[in-house]
């Protein structure tokens, strides 16, 4: 516990200018920063509008058309029926792009995302709602576990720099450089095919239906273990490295020296002072990675035959299934925005400086 060598600062500086008295400043009036909140709200509203508009435009800029994609998929259907199909799929209209854009917004406001060509003309909301829980459940769980383990491990490794624990860094970094599909296939070959500990894929067993029973939940955990474990292994390196590097920077700060000089326990200095400050950029990265959670990890879904949004989006893109593409993009956009709002809030709690914008 004495591995810390606090560097000596010899230069003179003005404590007020550097901002070390921030705690006193926040004890001032508790006025609501309306301008700040209004600015943020406007910013998010603009981002939402831009994102939704891009969602609308991007698929339409892509080459290829939905009906010929449909015919290529279903070769028992005659190309002679292309006109009939156009009508069936609702593509026979000659509406201008602007009119389509207006319709798109008015449907969106009513929560109607259209029907998915690729999934038996079922409503997009139904299609997404069948896949999204699995993605959020598995990838979300794995990301949180990976973030938690990685951040805690990074804090400890940073705290004890120079010790043998440093070996964790190259090991986790190495694991995250292995192509994910290869890691997944190795896991399947070893644990599923040879040892037969885990099933080779899917979210639960053949012949089951989702139900609230211990057996079913057991099935889901049994099936989800390998995919979740491989995601954690593949993504751990980034979290450990990021946290450890921030720790190294923070540990050089004077307030750490002060805290130790005051005789605080190492544990309190580590978690209450060093880690609390070092974790801030991690939280920003975590907010960003929430977008990837909802986007699904397509390789995992393919290797483990797991249901999810990633494959949904890939197939929709290949099939020019505009409605489904827009629906999935919308969900991703919204979740990234919500994650950013949450990150803003979390920052405000963890970092008093962000609360002072009104000052």
């Amino acid at each position: 516990m004495n591995a810390i060598q606090t560097p000596l600062h010899t230069e003179d500086y003005d404590a007020l200018e550097v901002g070390t008295t921030a705690t006193t400043a926040s004890k001032g009036s508790v006025r609501v920063p309306w301008r700040f909140l209004g600015g943020r709200a406007l910013f998010y509203a603009f981002t939402l509008w831009a994102a939704v508009t891009i969602n609308f435009l991007l698929p339409r800029l892509m080459k290829g058309d939905a009906v010929s994609a449909y015919l290529a998929r279903n070769r028992n259907i005659s190309p002679e029926a292309a006109d009939g199909l156009r009508a069936l799929l609702g593509l026979d209209t000659d509406k201008s792009l602007f009119q389509q854009y207006i319709d798109y917004w008015s449907l969106l406001v009513r929560g109607d995302l259209g029907v998915s060509l690729l999934h038996g003309l079922r409503p997009v909301t139904e299609v997404i709602s069948q896949a999204l829980p699995w993605t959020i459940g598995l990838v979300g769980f794995a990301t949180i576990v990976s973030f938690a383990i990685g951040t805690i491990a990074g804090a400890i490794v940073g705290w004890r720099r120079g010790s043998r624990l440093d070996a964790i860094i190259p090991i986790t970094t190495f694991l995250s450089t292995i192509p994910y599909f290869w890691l997944g296939l190795l896991a399947i070959a070893l644990f599923s095919v040879n040892l037969r500990w885990f099933p080779i894929g899917k979210a639960y067993g053949v012949g089951w239906s989702p139900e609230l029973s211990f057996e079913f939940i057991g099935q889901v955990i049994h099936h989800g273990f390998l995919p979740a474990m491989t995601i954690v292994i593949a993504s751990l390196g980034g979290w450990v490295l990021g946290m450890r590097n921030m720790m190294l920077t923070v540990l050089d700060e004077d307030y750490i020296t002060v805290a130790q000089a005051k005789g605080m326990t190492n544990r309190r200095v580590l978690w209450g002072y060093a880690a609390r400050n070092a974790v801030l950029p991690q939280i920003q990265s975590f907010a960003l990675s929430i977008g990837f959670i909802v986007g699904g990890t397509i390789v995992m879904e393919m290797v483990f035959s797991y249901p999810g949004v990633g494959k949904l989006l890939l197939d929709a893109t290949n099939a020019k299934d505009y409605a489904l593409m827009q629906g999935v993009f919308l969900v991703i956009t919204l979740s990234v925005l919500v994650a950013n709002i949450l990150a803003d809030v979390a920052y405000a709690f963890l970092d008093p400086r962000t609360r002072q914008t009104g000052a």
Partner: protein, 550 residues
């Protein structure tokens, strides 16, 4: 992803063999009561729709709709190309193939106990006639009448070249479908709507698998397999793992290195590739240089190695087409006597002779066209279509070495490729053919201007247009006289041989991987009563023919 899958499958196979654990004991129960698991490589199919008329419903994607709803007759896409009456006791076409007379099978009940009658057939085709169902198969039904025990269906155009499309129409029960507001899109997820005459009935549907149970009152007799499971794996590699480990029993996927990765794992594993009348075909843009010169197309036909296509690109899952008529051996009967022995081969000298005669020259091993420009073109196939991507490389090499033509290998995404083939902005592509079960498929796909609507091509991408051939194509499809049809066929074949509008490489096969651990009676190379593809209508014939292993 398919390229990745190849690497992966090889690696996986190696791992399996090293440890010697492959396929030892399937996790499924074995013996006569074992379930049969039919698998696809399409990723999770998470949206429930049992509608048999919708191409992308879960019933169609998994293809379990085909064992619930039965068609009037089954047309074998391979082997003898025969038609077997199924839900009809007999099906009879009029001479000009505009009328179909059907005698419904008696003693058949729907799975809810109601009797199946001629009314159900009339009702099903009436939905097409009235437009309640989108005419996806282009049936063009104009009249349906029942007279006692027979049903007569009349079509607006001759169906000689589309018999399978008509006969494979799933027949649905009137007493249920009459109350369905929109039969086009209804998912049939409400209680008691999935009622068919087929050998299996729906038991359980989940986002991970679909289970069907044998129909105890099936008209075709007792079934050997009590339970069918339909499962979809993430990709080919995952499917192969499942097939090897015994989690899946039956599939129709293209598996790279199939000998090592699947067949070697267990001697009970089998693979059957059944040729059909369709073919993987090299389409050239006849409107622009360099392919507006027939001599060059002919030279290509004498240079491209079809055996390499079958052996290397398709890894054996195809059969070669050498006939100068472009027809596969399955259609031998239709080849004119004068072309019976007219086959291409890899003969570079001959190809060079053809080019020299047409005024082509060579400069430092590069082919120069009569205008004095070097010949080069780009050959386009969407990236990820691994078998045809391999063929691109093979063709590029063969043409460079043999003729000194510089072939640019182009692998765009599907959308870009699709736009180019429709708008005719490509130079050469590899594409499939419309499969009609006879010679018409090849010739309409390569020479028929009817596919070009609004200047967009659905077939005939090279935009061949010869009024005599067009007329012959129409005659072949519409005539009621066998002699006229033969004469029309002669016109088409002659034009195809002289003009070489496209170069078929190898027949398009229907694939099937299955194991005989629990059940036997699958189609084999010697007995192709159906293809071994579980997503084809012929699955009915196979399921009713399977026997438990003793």
């Amino acid at each position: 992803m398919k390229l990745v899958s190849t690497v992966v499958a090889v690696g996986l196979a190696a791992t399996l063999m090293l440890t010697g654990c492959a396929g030892s004991g399937a996790p499924n129960s074995s013996g006569s009561g074992a379930a049969l698991t039919i698998a696809k490589p399409d990723g999770a199919i998470t949206t429930e729709s049992h509608n048999p008329f919708l191409g992308d419903s879960s019933a169609s994607k998994y293809s379990y709709g085909k064992v619930i709803f039965e068609p009037l007759a089954l047309v074998n896409p391979t082997g003898d190309l025969n038609t077997t009456p199924w839900l009809a006791e007999s099906v009879e076409w009029s001479d000009d193939y505009t009328q179909l007379v059907v005698v419904p099978r008696s003693g058949v009940n729907w799975s809810d106990g109601t009797e199946f009658t001629a009314d159900d057939i009339v009702f099903t085709f009436d939905m097409y006639k009235s437009g309640t169902i989108t005419d996806g198969a282009g049936l063009n039904v104009t009249d349906v009448t029942a007279d006692g025990d027979t049903v007569t269906i009349t079509f607006g155009n001759p169906k000689f070249t589309a018999q399978a499309r008509v006969l494979h129409t799933p027949i649905v029960p009137k007493h249920i479908w009459a109350d369905i507001a929109d039969p086009n899109t209804d998912p049939l997820t409400d209680e008691g709507l999935v009622v068919g005459t087929g050998p299996y009935v729906l038991d359980n549907w989940s986002t991970e698998s679909v289970t069907l149970k044998a129909n105890p009152d099936y008209w075709g007799g007792e079934l050997a397999v009590p339970t069918l499971n339909y499962v979809s794996y993430g990709d080919n590699a995952a499917l192969t793992t499942a097939l090897v480990s015994g989690d899946a029993d039956w599939a129709q996927a293209f598996i790279p290195q199939i000998q090592d990765s699947y067949l070697a794992a267990d001697e009970e594993n089998h693979f059957l590739a059944s040729p059909t009348s369709g073919a993987g075909t090299l389409f050239m843009n006849l409107q622009t240089k360099p392919f507006n010169n027939p001599a060059l197309r002919q030279a290509l036909a004498w240079t491209i190695d079809r055996q390499a296509y079958v052996d290397i690109a398709r890894e054996g899952a195809s059969s070669v087409i050498w006939s100068s008529t472009g027809l596969s051996t399955l259609l031998d009967d239709e080849i004119l006597p004068e072309y019976k022995n007219e086959n291409y081969s890899v003969d570079v000298d001959k190809a060079r002779q053809v080019l020299t005669d047409a005024g082509y020259t060579w400069q430092s091993d590069k082919l120069i066209d009569p205008d004095g420009e070097p010949v080069s073109f780009s050959l386009s196939v969407p990236s990820g279509w691994s078998d045809w991507n391999t063929e691109q490389a093979l063709i590029a090499e063969e043409l460079k070495e043999g003729l000194g033509i510089d072939v640019k290998v182009d692998q765009p995404d599907w959308g870009g490729w699709d736009a180019a083939r429709q708008e005719g902005t490509f130079q050469a592509i590899i594409h499939w053919l419309e499969d009609t079960g006879n010679a018409y498929g090849l010739y309409t796909s390569t020479m028929d201007p009817k596919w070009i609507v609004d200047n967009k091509a659905q077939f005939n991408f090279g935009r061949y247009n010869d009024p005599a051939v067009t007329e012959a194509l129409n005659t072949y499809a519409a005539t009621s006289s066998e002699a006229d049809r033969a004469a029309a066929l002669a016109v088409m074949q002659k034009a195809f041989v002289t003009d070489v509008p496209a170069i078929p490489l190898g027949s398009h096969p229907l694939l099937g991987e299955y194991n005989t651990r629990n059940y036997v009676g699958f189609p084999t190379t010697d007995d192709q009563y159906a293809s071994a593809d579980p997503t084809q209508p012929g699955v009915l014939q196979i399921l009713t023919k399977l026997k438990p292993v003793n």
